[in-house]
């Protein structure tokens, strides 16, 4: 008699969790497109409201009037602002904002697509490394495996979390790559995967510390949970008790902290690309900014924003799916 209703309840809660996650995803999608639209409109307006003549900034002061008129026509600057805006939005929808000014003949979005590869590899590797590192550190800091040395793990986590990446990355590069030469310079084209791994490790380290802090707090809340007592009483190994039983309920907060750190991750990726002179979205944006390559800058900012909001919405949906509590007021 008993098992059947039990089963039914479980499947129902599973599917309702899923549908709630989908609903939440729709709500989040609305917020995400608002962020994206604001960002796109800001970059569009900033370029047009630039005091003085944009063409002289791009071509230099000495450019002739004919050249300027040609550029103005090419960028559509001779049309009314509202029309330019509509054109810009339509271009975004079609993924076509015209050709790059710096490299005529290549479309702005193909430049972005080329830069997207290295940056997403770096970011993906950094998130994976950071999550694995952070969760491992948190489990070490909570489970009795290390005994009294757990406190040192926690202190280490706090120290890393308080260290700014912008100070750590150049220092670590100097010490590891220049002074002791244990890793290749990540900007070196021959460094290959090891270079990428080093850069991703640096980028993932602060993320890992934040993950570890939150995961440790989440795990500590479950130390006295009945189901862990049961797992222990059944003679489960430390690994089984902490990784198989305690970790899954703590993964909701971990997804939240990863989502909250994505903005910092993007900024960090730009800094690291600059530091190591790696090709990527950050380098592309900075170069386009410096030379006022309007189509490329617009495309790159929108693409980076899109990547960011999609990742953030996904993390939010994962969290809603893992832990449906606290979603009532939101949905």
């Amino acid at each position: 008699m008993l098992p059947q209703p039990e089963m039914q309840r479980r499947t129902r809660s599973w599917s309702s969790g899923l549908s709630r996650a989908v609903l939440g995803l729709a709500g989040r999608g609305l917020g995400a497109s608002l962020v994206l639209l604001t960002l796109a409109s800001l970059v569009f307006l900033s370029m047009r409201l630039l005091p003085g003549d944009m063409t002289s900034l791009i071509l230099g002061e000495q450019a002739g009037e004919a050249e300027r008129a040609a550029l103005r026509a090419r960028l559509g600057l001779d049309q009314p602002l509202a029309l330019q805006y509509v054109d810009f939005l339509w271009g975004l929808v079609r993924f076509d904002l015209g050709d790059s000014l710096a490299r005529p003949g290549t479309s702005a979005f193909s430049e972005v697509a080329r830069a997207l590869g290295p940056t997403s590899a770096l970011a993906f590797l950094a998130v994976s490394l950071g999550t694995v590192l952070g969760v491992t550190a948190a489990v070490c800091a909570v489970s009795p495996w290390l005994g009294a040395r757990r406190a040192w793990v926690h202190r280490g986590i706090l120290a890393v979390a308080a260290t700014p990446l912008i100070a750590l990355a150049p220092l670590a590069t100097y010490l590891l790559a220049v002074r002791w030469q244990v890793v290749p310079l990540p900007g070196d084209p021959e460094a290959g995967f090891v270079g990428l791994l080093f850069a991703a490790g640096l980028l993932g380290l602060p993320l890992g510390a934040q993950v570890a802090r939150i995961a440790r707090a989440a795990l500590l809340e479950e130390v006295h949970a009945k189901f862990l007592d049961v797992a222990r009483a059944k003679g489960g190994s430390l690994f089984r008790v902490w990784v198989i039983h305690a970790l899954p309920p703590a993964s909701g907060p971990i997804a939240v902290v990863v989502a909250a750190q994505l903005g910092a991750l993007l900024g960090g990726a730009v800094v690291l690309e600059r530091l190591f002179e790696r090709p990527g979205l950050g380098t592309l944006m900075l170069n386009a900014y410096a030379s006022r390559d309007v189509p490329v800058l617009e495309a790159a900012v929108v693409a980076a924003g899109l990547l960011f909001v999609v990742a953030q919405s996904l993390a939010g949906a994962v969290q809603a799916w893992l832990d449906p509590r606290g979603q009532g007021e939101d949905a």
Partner: protein
């Protein structure tokens, strides 16, 4: 006894106050300037007359680091203060009135806080041909109010239903007096403690912008110093060491101060 403990807790502000005092004193009193260049001294190591050595084009690193520290501290305090002035009243009003006003304010905070700062900075700074310190402050001020508003709203909501506020109301204390004597003093502390965290964030943000070349044009910023350090990593490691130390001290000092403030106001809490 309790006072001594409180004094010790507030003492964690000392490092950042000391940094401010030293750099401000140097800027006001010393003749050394980060704009005076002596090319023959480029990248030279610390010496008796240049205690921190020289950087790119022979810039005096002692002057550069003091001027940059003072400027970034002023910028960070200014932005944090602005965020507090806008965010705290907004959040408090939202938390006290509740309803749809509160919901929309919190939604706006969500939206603003989910902006990637670097993209926002890049988009806004494209509007000027050369970004100045004012423009950079504007970029940070755009999003600075949100965390203050969020904390103030949460705090105001719990104060609205707190027993001592209810007691004051039941005793016939007027609305204004309840607000000014009972609600506001308990509200402001935790919100003010956010200032240190915000200021530390601004320091790191400004440094990152300066490092990637979006900093102030005069090159007097910790980010520009760090860039010099990474460029001359092989020739002059002292520049990199100095830059890393300065960044760690300033942001660490602000974080420590915010932690101390937070502990200090917790003594006042409900």
């Amino acid at each position: 006894m309790r006072d001594a403990k409180r004094l010790r807790e507030i003492g964690v502000i000392a490092p950042v106050a000391l940094l401010f005092a030293v750099s401000a004193g140097f800027v006001l009193l010393s003749q050394r300037s980060p704009s005076r260049l002596s090319l023959e001294l480029s990248w030279s190591a610390p010496s008796a007359s240049f205690p921190f050595g020289n950087g790119d084009a022979g810039v005096d690193l002692l002057a550069l680091v003091c001027h940059a520290t003072l400027r970034v501290l002023v910028l960070a305090t200014g932005v944090a203060g602005f965020g507090f002035l806008i965010g705290a009243p907004l959040g408090a009003a939202a938390g006290l009135t509740g309803g749809s006003f509160e919901r929309w304010t919190l939604r706006a905070c969500d939206l603003v806080q989910s902006f990637p700062t670097f993209l926002l900075a890049l988009a806004v700074l494209s509007a000027v041909s050369v970004p100045s310190r004012g423009h950079i402050a504007f970029v940070f001020a755009l999003t600075a109010w949100a965390p203050f508003a969020r904390i103030a709203a949460a705090r105001a909501r719990s104060l609205r239903d707190a027993q001592f506020v209810e007691a004051a109301r039941a005793l016939g204390v007027s609305r204004t007096r309840t607000l000014t004597r009972h609600v506001l003093p308990n509200l402001l502390g935790p919100v003010a403690a956010q200032a240190g965290t915000s200021a530390a964030g601004v320091v790191l943000g400004e440094t990152a912008l300066g490092f990637v070349g979006l900093g102030p044009p005069d090159g007097v910023s910790l980010g520009a110093l760090l860039e010099q350090g990474t460029l001359a990593m092989l020739r002059a490691p002292h520049v990199l060491t100095l830059a890393v130390l300065a960044i760690a001290l300033v942001s660490g000092g602000l974080q420590l101060a915010s932690e101390g403030l937070r502990r200090w106001v917790r003594g006042d809490a409900l």
